[in-house]
Symmetry: C2
Subunit: 343 residues, 2 copies
């Protein structure tokens, strides 16, 4: 080992993986796209490709078993990986699941976890085809790989957005983040006094969005029926602002998005206000909604107009125009990966 | 969670995964084989399939950083997954690598790990196409998925062995296990007195087999050139006896293997004797050699006869004849997954 010591935090997750893999070269003609999008793309025939995505979930980092029931954890672990395949405009068909657990977990706990995994497999029509279980020194780690398939011409990359394309978000945003805030607050209350019953009343919707997010395979199927291939696509796992910036940077374009267009459920807004938070900030920066963000050509807009699951939130501009959020007063605010700066 | 508590140890690794996944059903016609072989098989066209295998390696369980340099760990993590694809008579083309590390590791440590991964990618001609890095609460976890491709008619399953087929082992066996014994002994010595220099002299071969095992892609290519498709195949990760039993149980056959035929390197034998161990016991029960075990039809034997990398060690018998090891005196001893019983 070299004598220099650089802390991991100094690069951030994306910087770190870029740094570690910059020396790697692809050697197989079947490898169409490697690291850098929601899923890798492997050619399987002249016209078809496979989408492959992998994720590791770690107890204490990505989930907390104090408020995450194991059944929900199993379901969510599958859903977020299926969502990565959706983000390429494809549908997952297979998954592998590897689990490492310390012996503090009895078999009954793993049965609950696998019950959630099985429920998600049924809902998303995916087959569990492999994986292993092993002992860990502490806690639980889950690693999932999802595999989907698509015509090559139907795959949507992050990099395909063009000037004047329309930005669409599915569902509503910020709910999963507010669900987490409610759960964290009740955990604090419980830790301070375990005799107090948790007060989750009226927060069912945001809690469910946090504990049991859904992958939008329905949207992928709908787009196929409508014969719309998004020019670019990503799933919203880290917050709307960060995902828009990923698309704009990969596509070398700018954007305008409009405050009043961002879809936020009334229950999310109420919870945000209850926590003295701005609902739009929660939608822009709160993660784990697993909704889809995509761009379509203007001529495709009539096909999806009025669909209750899809909301136009802005449009793509020239790269030199920058990435802007337009607030209710009409002021343009530059997008930032976390929050934004007025100028 | 139910009130019953059953300890994980009570089922064993294979029993546990069978138990947890017995409710799962396959729904996609592209899923040809799920859990139960070295890799899953997914149909990608009328004539071709993909082989997909996944593995999780956990610090303190599967590797010990006290004597496993990170570069070797990265190399080995790729090699063992490439080996799983070899075990289906195919060659890996892509891998994904996910890493979780605590912040006790500086970036320089991960650079070494990825250097080993990159070296293995070059040697085995595989492309790193995805994965992520994240924080762990303690230690290091590596999850790798390997993807290969093959004509459907060339895939060798564990279940295809037939009576009178010849059992072949590649390379030599027991070396990785003896390497582990040497490293463990020196670790004990070091722990007792850190001033004493490790005495690894004369053990280079067995240590290298433990720290830097190779996947036998050369054997897969060789079999292809010779136009030999093994009737059944597995890689030797848990010891020869256990792997033979997997093939026999999956194929519903018995076997005879011969003590004097088992390929053991002279350096492995010397180290075993030094440790008061029987070399054949080490070959039968010591894991991590990552050699291949396969069966071929008698009529294919002439094609591989005399090949220095492939040793015939026995033959397949009727299921009712049982699974036997024939010792030097000609006595038949029933094979056991760990050790064996005289009768």
């Amino acid at each position: 080992m070299s004598e220099n010591r650089t802390e991991l935090e100094s690069l951030g997750e994306f910087g770190l993986i870029d740094h570690l893999t910059k020396q790697f070269e692809n050697r197989n003609s079947s490898t169409l796209v490697g690291i850098g999008d929601d899923a890798a793309v492997v050619s399987i025939s002249e016209t078809e490709a496979q989408l492959i995505s992998t994720d590791m979930l770690i107890e204490g980092v990505h989930f907390n078993l104090m408020y995450m029931p194991l059944k929900h954890l199993g379901y969510k672990a599958v859903a977020v990986n299926v969502s990565d395949i959706c983000a390429m405009n494809a549908v997952a068909e297979q998954i592998t699941v590897s689990i490492a657990v310390s012996n503090r977990f009895p078999i009954e706990a793993l049965e609950e976890l696998y019950e959630g995994i099985n429920t998600a497999c049924k809902v998303y029509n995916v087959d569990l085809i492999g994986g292993d279980t092993s002992t860990s020194m502490s806690g639980m780690t889950i690693s999932i790989t999802a595999i989907g398939r698509s015509k090559k011409t139907n795959i949507s990359y992050r990099s395909g957005a063009k000037e004047n394309d329309i930005l669409i978000a599915t569902g509503d945003l910020g709910a999963a983040y507010m669900g987490l805030q409610v759960l964290e607050r009740e955990k604090e209350v419980y830790n301070a006094n375990p005799a107090i019953q948790p007060d989750l009343d009226g927060h069912d919707y945001v809690i469910e969005r946090q504990l049991k997010p859904e992958a939008r395979v329905d949207v992928i199927r709908f787009l196929k029926e409508l014969d719309v291939v998004p020019t670019a696509m990503i799933d919203i796992s880290d917050g709307l602002a960060s995902e828009i910036m990923h698309i704009c940077k990969s596509s070398e374009v700018g954007c305008h998005i409009y405050d009043e267009k961002i879809p936020i459920d009334a229950k999310t807004s109420m919870t945000a206000i209850d926590f003295n938070l701005d609902p739009v900030t929660c939608a822009l920066n709160g993660g784990e909604d697993y909704e889809l963000l995509f761009t379509i050509k203007q001529e495709d807009f009539d096909k999806i107009k009025g669909n209750p699951h899809m909301t136009p939130i802005g449009h793509i501009t020239h790269k030199n125009d920058g990435m802007y959020y337009i607030d209710k007063s009409g002021s343009a605010i530059e997008l930032q990966a976390q929050g934004w700066n007025h100028f």
